[in-house]
């Protein structure tokens, strides 16, 4: 018989729980937990995705819009951070050699409920990232019918801001623009309008647009062949319990996180890595959230571990089921649309490879 939450809380309270939550909020504790929170673990699924992504970011690739999709909690935020760090290192020489360029721009598409101003806010954030001066007092010039006319009152319109972004990315020689939480873009307008906007920006400025978000992002390209031609979809895959390699890789992730455990008493999570894989649905982000919550409880408990913390940290069955269904629906949506999923199966590819072998070898 399983214990109710109340019983669990009660039994946990029997331990050396401090009288007040404030008692444990010493700077050391906070620092320890912050250290664990900021731990980023690179894992094979992420490495594979980055390997696939980097060639697409070369300036002369035709895939200008790259969708990085993944299940919730699979580690997309970590992936974005790692990607930005990698790109920053890649562009470091360029940045040092020429102080006028800003090769990398990263913004987040906020969903603040005000859909009308969604693109305007996004463009303004991009202009901030591009260090555009005098943003509060812009004066756009309209060119029409062979005339140039100042538009002193048009400084906040979306077309004017888009023009400004276009100019800025061109003149700052921006190569890659990363938009996190890009699924929110769909709330800014119709799918076609959103993609057309991105396409026109990427066409004129030769910028690679990396959109990071949930599987819903795929809806943007699903019905537009012209846009699909310029788009590549990459999925940050989760780990599966029925795959031995996945289990081993997940165990390694658990080992790395365990090594950074914020308390002196370190539970052996590695031993239960398969169980952790199952409850976290193979998502590294969910695993980390789980361990973060458990560590917080242990810290609150004066650093003493109790297995009940793990149980409390795991997502409730109903919530987990909800997440699982959403993930599976998303995976089904992008199946056969991912980078590398092509017409040829393995057998055909082997045959093609055989025929492609150079004659003189």
């Amino acid at each position: 018989m399983t214990k109710t939450n109340r019983e669990i809380t009660k039994s946990a309270g029997e331990h050396t729980r401090p009288n007040s939550w404030v008692d444990v909020l010493s700077q050391d504790v906070l620092d320890q937990q912050l250290g664990f929170f900021e731990t980023r673990v690179k894992h094979p699924a992420m490495d594979r995705l980055l390997d696939d992504l980097m060639p697409l970011l070369t300036p002369h690739s035709e895939s200008n819009i790259i969708l990085l999709v993944g299940a919730t909690g699979v580690g997309k935020s970590t992936l974005t951070r790692v990607l930005l760090k990698t790109l920053f290192e890649r562009f470091s020489t360029l940045v040092q050699d020429d102080q006028t360029v800003i090769p990398l721009v990263a913004v987040e598409a906020y969903a603040n409920g005000d859909n009308r101003h969604g693109f305007a806010t996004l463009y303004e954030d991009m202009l901030d990232e591009l260090m555009e001066p005098g943003q509060e007092k812009k004066a756009y010039v309209e060119v029409r019918d062979g005339r140039m006319v100042n538009r002193p009152h048009a400084r906040r319109t979306v077309p004017a801001l888009r023009k400004a972004v276009k100019q800025a990315v061109e003149l700052r020689k921006t190569r890659v623009c990363v938009i996190d939480e890009a699924a929110h873009l769909m709330r800014f307008g119709k799918d076609t309008a959103v993609m057309d906007t991105l396409k026109s920006l990427s066409n004129t400025a030769n910028v690679k647009w990396v959109l990071v978000g949930s599987f819903d992002l795929y809806d943007l390209v699903a019905e537009h062949g012209q846009i699909a031609r310029r788009t590549a979809v990459l999925n940050l895959e989760r780990y599966h319990l029925d795959d031995k390699e996945d289990c081993a890789a997940f165990k390694e992730v658990v080992r790395k996180l365990q090594a950074k455990w914020p308390c002196a008493e370190v539970p052996n999570f590695v031993a239960i890595s398969d169980a952790l894989l199952e409850v976290s649905l193979g998502c590294v982000g969910l695993l980390k959230s789980l361990m973060l919550d458990a560590s917080a409880m242990q810290l609150r408990n004066g650093g003493k571990w109790d297995p009940i913390f793990l149980r409390k940290a795991v997502k409730a069955n109903k919530l987990r089921e909800l997440i699982r269904k959403e993930i599976e629906a998303g995976e089904a949506k992008v199946r056969d649309a991912l980078h590398g999923d092509c017409l040829w199966d393995e057998k055909t590819l082997a045959e093609l490879s055989r025929r492609m072998e150079p004659a003189n070898v």
């Binding site: 102080q99 006028t100 001066p133 005098g134 812009k138 004066a139 010039v141 140039m148 100042n150």
Partner: protein, 438 residues
Amino acid sequence: MSERTLFYGLPLACDGSAEVESLRSYVERLSYAHNLRPRRLVEVLLERYPVHGIGFDYATLLRHWDVHGSGKSGTQLTERLEKATLTPLGHSTLHRFAGLFPAAHFARYRDTAYCPECVAETEDPTHGRLLWEVQCVTACPKHRVLLRAAAECGAPKEERLPVNRRPAFRSVCSACGSIGFRCLTDAAIPAPIEAVRVAEHVGKMLALSDAQCAGINLASLQAGIGELVREVYGSRVANAAVDAGLSRGSVSTWVRGVNRPSLSQLVQLCLRANAELVALLAGRYERVGDNEDEFGVQAKLTDRSYVRVVMSDHDILATLDEAAKETDAPTVQTVCARIGLNPRVARAKFPVAVGRLVARCTERRVAEWNQRHEDAVVAYTKAAAALQERGATVGAKALQREARLVAFSQNPARVRALDSVLKKVAEGAERVQGDTYG
């Protein structure tokens, strides 16, 4: 990321050629790229790189754009823009030649000019040439046509833009916004050969690289003029001066280093002696080529023309009298400029003839003023009638709007006409009211 530049690193257009972009044009192009007004761009620039001490009035600078000559403001602006864009801008002004020529009559001030052919064929409407900013240049060396004043607009009044919507670019009419001044349909006027030669000489000077400019200074210029006088005029400086239409002592003072020649005077000397200007600056005399036949008359390039030395008092008097008889009698200044005479000298020597000319000129002006007043009265009266017909209130603003004639303070004829029409309308209304009550 290490610190980035404040503005985009736009390169200076056509650097190293006669068509090198001017500093004003660069500021305007940069502000266009950043979607800022030039004034705002300069404000942002000075917020980041302030100018300490006095002497930099950017409001005046943006009104008159006197940045291309040897003034301090141009250098200060260039230095700050170079920091903000990491683009070398030394060639965008005439400052690198500042030690050679006096500041006066060097760069244009207020009145800007452009080549109608260049702006018509350019793809970049923001590109203005430094050559157009040099005061003695009146022609385009490429198209051999006269430069045109940028203040002229050929669009009808209703197409003119309100002040806050007017663009500020070298190749765009600021009054109506027409790209390439297409509002003016008149054909470009072919330039006299001497004006083209002047532009060519100055163009070559502007195209000089930093390395070529390194050896150029006042001493080298003196040496160059000295060599020219020796080679061409057998060391007779007075002959050189007279040949170039300059005062007899001028070339002598240049050679001795007492005075510096203005650019226009030096170019004039070069033209007469077929000397290469850039070689002269570097201290050498080099012939351009045998093109003396092209100059049928003595080149009149400088404001200070000494043609008058060959005119007798009788001829000057006759000229003044003839001018007084013209239908549209010109001003004394205009007539004096035609014959190269100082107006003060004319007034002192020929007071009666000048008085006659002034009287005729005043008479013409009064007639013009009265005509303007009458025209305005007619227009405002028509407008008042139209407003009354529609049952609208006849006020000063409504009247001006209806007549499409603004009565501003600098046009007293219109102001007076507006007042008189309003007065008449008020009197009419009172009369009607009186009749009704009566």
